[in-house]
């Protein structure tokens, strides 16, 4: 039942926020903060209670896979269940959702002044939907949450966004975001249904259950098409380069909290979907597709980095760096070694922290300067109190400085993938140089260089300071002691790796097939 509450709490909290608006502006903020704090506390409680350690290789039975499970019949006609389950991977990502949720509420404390209640309703419903995505292992339920979380995000961008630069309105950006993700989601629905009907043809029973569908025998061609259905849906959200068109606009026009959610959590749902569904459901097809996926990842790394260098808008720059970082994630996922997969989780968490940090900082800059155009900034180092210092730290994290969690993640991804695809890794490493360039460019243009004006601006207040300090502490904590995270997700990643490499041996040495 705890799992159900994890999903319900944000939804109920959101409704309360909406209704509490009549009590004044502060009430919804405190309620939202309390709600997300509660989610975070419950998750941390589960973390300390549950035993997440390296699994016993002899006991790899199905029952031991989930540390918590909850199921109830929903639509018996098609064997659809409300089936929630928690393992190390989902636990980490839910904890991340809770933490970034708290940050998102905090960073809009002063930014959002209109329709506060309705804003927090949308914010909390996004987070509720994301938690649902991380918990659902019935494919119908997964799709349900996957599509559902788009609606509040749409409102968040369309109603509280900035009508930004060059005539691009926030409504266009929001609509673009919605159509991209919804249309690709429908492809996933088609793929899910294709899988279900193959299963039905084999067994005579409808089922959307992850465990049932995983063992569906598929012909190679069909498996490839169905896998592509899933992949495209996830690739749009991740985003992978030819399908990334919505991301810069959405980020640039979204309010800070929206950007934090988008970069920190929503992009992670795509990587999670690949790890949880695309790879385990279609291991052979994924294995065959891996070279293409890695190539796309490489393109993403360079494309994102190069375009980031040319941006004038701070938030667009950070958005393009996200594309670049997600390229590493994609390579790691499709390399499929244990080290690379662990690195992917690490990098996801690290990127969530660093991107959230940078977005919050640019939100704070905007609150003080009322512009996000870097051409109008410069020389802010001495004028803003501790803000530039924090910027430097997060920029360093973003470029993968040793000591930060990003370094550990990128290093593990590259190291783990080297055995599988040495040339891809060698090329991707060159992308790290570009990362250094765009990161330093950001720092140089915003905080150094000639000043526009000498009047000191307001420094960080206590709320802002502790937000940044907390984020920075986490970046350093996981950078210096990553084992904390790795232990938790190890079992889940080992399972993915087992399936994936089993498919590999099946392809290369067909008759023996020992996994």
């Amino acid at each position: 039942m705890t799992l159900v509450w994890l999903i319900l709490i944000p939804f109920i909290g959101g409704l309360l926020c909406w209704k509490a608006e009549r009590l004044g502006e502060m009430a919804p903020r405190w309620i939202a903060l309390g709600t997300m704090g509660l989610v975070l506390l419950i998750t941390l409680g589960l973390w300390f209670q549950g035993e997440y350690h390296l699994p016993d290789p002899t006991a790899s039975s199905e029952a031991a896979r989930w540390s918590m499970e909850w199921r109830a019949a929903w639509i018996p006609r098609f064997g659809i269940e409300v089936h929630l389950a928690l393992d190390g991977l989902s636990l980490v990502l839910i904890a991340l959702t809770g933490f970034l949720g708290v940050l998102a509420v905090l960073c809009s404390w002063n930014e959002i002044v209109r329709r506060v209640g309705f804003f927090h309703l949308n914010l909390l419903w996004i987070l509720g939907g994301v938690v649902g995505v991380f918990l659902a292992i019935d494919l119908f339920l997964f799709f349900f949450f996957w599509e559902m979380m788009l609606v509040p995000m749409y409102f968040l961008i369309a109603l509280w966004g900035h009508s930004g630069s060059e005539g691009k309105t926030r409504i266009t950006a929001a609509t673009k975001f919605f159509i991209y993700t919804q249309a690709s989601g429908l492809l996933m629905l088609v793929a899910i249904l294709g899988l279900v009907f193959v299963h039905h043809a084999n067994t005579g029973e409808y089922s959307f259950s992850y465990d049932d569908l995983r063992n569906t025998p598929l012909s190679d061609g069909l498996a490839m098409w169905l896998m592509l259905g899933f992949f495209i849906a996830f690739a749009v959200k991740l985003p992978v380069v030819p399908l990334h068109g919505w991301l810069p606009d959405a980020h640039a026009q979204a309010p800070t909290a929206g950007s934090v959610d988008l970069a920190g959590i929503l992009l992670k749902t795509a990587a999670y979907g690949m790890l949880r569904f695309a790879l385990p459901l279609f291991p052979e097809a994924s294995q065959a597709f891996a070279p293409v996926a890695m190539a796309l990842g490489l393109i993403g790394i360079f494309y994102g980095a190069v375009l980031a260098c040319g941006q004038h808008d701070v938030k667009r720059l950070i958005a393009y760096t996200s594309i670049s970082h997600m390229g590493f994630v994609l390579i790691g996922i499709y390399a499929g070694t244990e080290l690379a997969l662990q690195g992917v989780v690490m990098l996801m968490v690290a990127h969530a922290f660093s991107a959230a940090g940078l977005f919050i900082l640019s939100g704070q800059l905007y609150e003080r300067l009322h512009t996000r155009d870097m051409r109008e900034m410069g020389g802010l180092w001495g004028r803003l109190g501790s803000l530039p210092g924090f910027s430097l730290c997060f920029v360093a994290a973003s470029l993968g400085m040793p000591g930060t969690a990003n370094f550990v993640g990128e290093f593990m991804v590259l190291f783990g993938s080297f055995a599988v695809a040495p040339w891809v890794v060698a090329t991707a490493s060159a992308g790290l140089v570009l990362a250094a360039i765009y990161s330093l460019l950001l720092m140089q243009r915003v905080h150094f260089g000639p000043t526009q004006n000498d009047t000191p601006l307001a420094g960080l207040d206590r709320r802002e300071f502790f937000m940044m300090l907390g984020l920075l502490a986490l970046v350093l904590l996981f950078g210096l002691y990553p084992q904390l995270l790795l232990n938790t997700t190890d079992a889940a990643m080992l399972e993915v790796q087992r399936l994936f490499s089993a498919a590999d041996t099946l392809i290369t040495t067909l008759p023996t097939g020992v996994a």
Binding site: I75, M148, A158, L159, T175, V190
Partner: protein, 481 residues
């Protein structure tokens, strides 16, 4: 055959609706009273709805002209529910109308009776009779506020084009009769079982044109936006809901029973029409700035999706068609309900321009929530009934391996999102300075408001927990004779 008491019981809903129509007519002749007439209408429709519980005991049952089976009862429930919603909202709408108000209910009842006959017909005579009984009052309803130029135009446009459609239908029937010498559906299918022959296929095709006109299938859709825009809210609502349901059900019955409609060539034509309808409907809706026109195009697109059920016509098809009809119906009723409430009391043309809806949320949050929910449902977003319907249609297409149609649905939905979102976001934008049309302050506690809120609640409930709806549809499906 002799008419027994059981037959009378089986026809009870139809009889009750007709009796109500006569009572209303006599009542108007005796003394005009708007609320009284509306009340009598609602009571009669409710009685007919409850009498279905009794009919349930005796079904399935056949008379030479009408079949009281699961499909007919299913359609009867939908038609009666939508007539009820129309009657309730018409009361709010016509409250301040200057002309005679009571006849609207009379027309509504006649049309409802026509719908009941049509959906239960298993003889070409009742099919034609039902269709005309359904359409004739609609001309009157659409042109009811005839002081408005657009309303009159809508009525006359529908009259003329509908007559054209009917001519096609009749010609098709004549050809089928020439081929087989029979007019009842069972006889037709028996006569066509050795192969339809050229006349048979031509006849079936022409009937398809006639019925396709009523369903506004592309390329017979040209009347739809104008009629939806011009007709008064409740009339457009009836046209979009009850009328379409009845015609679709009879088409489903034809396709499921008569082999001439299962002809491979006709099937391909039907599939092409479905694809064309969903794409054209969605594309044309993109640039609309009038909510009623937009809903008209959106209903064209939705019937494109529904045609997939006819194209596949086995396996899950009947169930899919039924589920989609339910979800479409309650959603459309909800959307038109909001438009009608905002346009009531009657004050010239309806509040249909999108600019009337700008910033509505900050004045009427609950009414906006209803419209948002219905828009999301039309777009097929989870948590709404529309998603369940879309899920069914895609499942059907995937099961049958009709990849072109599945592709059409995906593309159509993606295009559709654009204009549904446009409507939605308009509701939440900053209020304009000028005074917009508004619903009465106490709309939420009035009958019309309650109906609309109930519909929105139903949309959400069925979206979250559709199992009862699916069970009910399947129970109806087993009641075939």
């Amino acid at each position: 055959m002799t008419l027994t008491l059981t037959h009378l019981v089986a026809l009870l809903p139809l009889i009750l609706v007709c009796v109500t129509a006569i009572v209303v007519m006599l009542g108007i002749a005796w003394r005009r009273h708007h609320s009284g007439t509306a009340f009598a209408t609602v009571v009669g429709l409710n009685l007919a709805l409850f009498s279905l519980l009794i009919v349930w005991q005796v079904a399935p049952l056949e008379t030479p002209l009408l079949a009281v089976d699961g499909l007919a009862m299913f359609a009867a429930v939908l038609i009666l529910v939508s007539s009820l919603a129309c009657a309730t909202l018409a009361h709010a709408y016509l409250e301040h109308y200057q002309g005679p108000r009571e006849e609207f209910y009379l027309l509504l009842l006649c049309a409802a009776a026509g719908g009941l006959v049509l959906s239960a017909s298993q003889h070409l005579a009742t099919l034609f009779f039902g269709l005309e009984l359904l359409s004739m009052p609609l001309y009157g309803m659409l042109a009811y506020t005839f002081h408005e130029r657009r309303s009159l135009e809508a009525g006359i446009k529908y009259l003329v084009l509908s007559a054209g459609g009917t001519a096609f239908l009749l010609f098709g029937m004549a050809l089928l009769y020439a081929q087989t010498g029979r007019l009842d559906l069972a006889g037709l299918s028996a006569g066509l079982v050795q192969g339809a022959g050229a006349w048979g296929v031509a006849g079936a095709g022409l009937m398809l044109v006639g019925l396709g006109f009523k369903l506004s299938v592309v390329p017979f859709h040209l009347w739809t936006p104008d009629v939806y825009e011009g007709g008064p809210g409740p009339a457009a609502m009836f046209l979009a809901s009850a009328s379409k349901v009845a015609v679709f059900v009879v088409l489903l019955r034809l396709v499921l029973s008569a082999p001439a409609f299962q002809d491979a060539w006709l099937h391909d034509v039907l599939a092409a029409l479905a694809l064309l309808t969903m794409l054209v409907g969605n594309l044309l809706a993109l640039t609309q700035s009038n909510l009623k026109r937009l809903l008209g195009y959106s209903s064209i697109a939705h019937f494109g999706y529904l045609l997939v059920a006819l194209v596949v016509s086995d396996g899950l098809a009947a169930e899919t068609g039924a589920v989609y009809l339910i979800t479409y119906l309650i959603t459309t009723l909800g959307a038109f309900g909001v438009v009608t409430l905002l346009s009531s009391p009657y004050g010239g043309s309806d509040a249909a321009g999108l600019h009337h809806y700008r910033g509505l949320f900050w004045r009427r949050p609950y009414l906006t929530a209803v419209l948002t929910v219905t828009m999301l449902s039309l777009a097929g977003i989870p948590f709404t009934a529309g998603f369940i319907g879309k899920f069914y249609i895609i499942a059907l297409g995937v099961e049958a391996g009709r990849w072109w149609l599945v592709g059409g649905i995906v593309v159509g939905s993606a295009i559709g999102l654009y204009y549904y979102l446009r409507v939605m976001v308009t509701l939440y934008l900053v209020e304009p300075g000028m005074q917009s049309r508004d619903a009465p302050h106490d709309w939420g506690i009035r009958a019309g408001g309650v109906v609309v809120l109930g519909l929105a609640l139903l949309v959400v409930l069925l979206g979250i927990y559709p199992a009862p709806m699916i069970d009910w549809v399947r129970a109806m499906g087993t009641l075939t004779s």
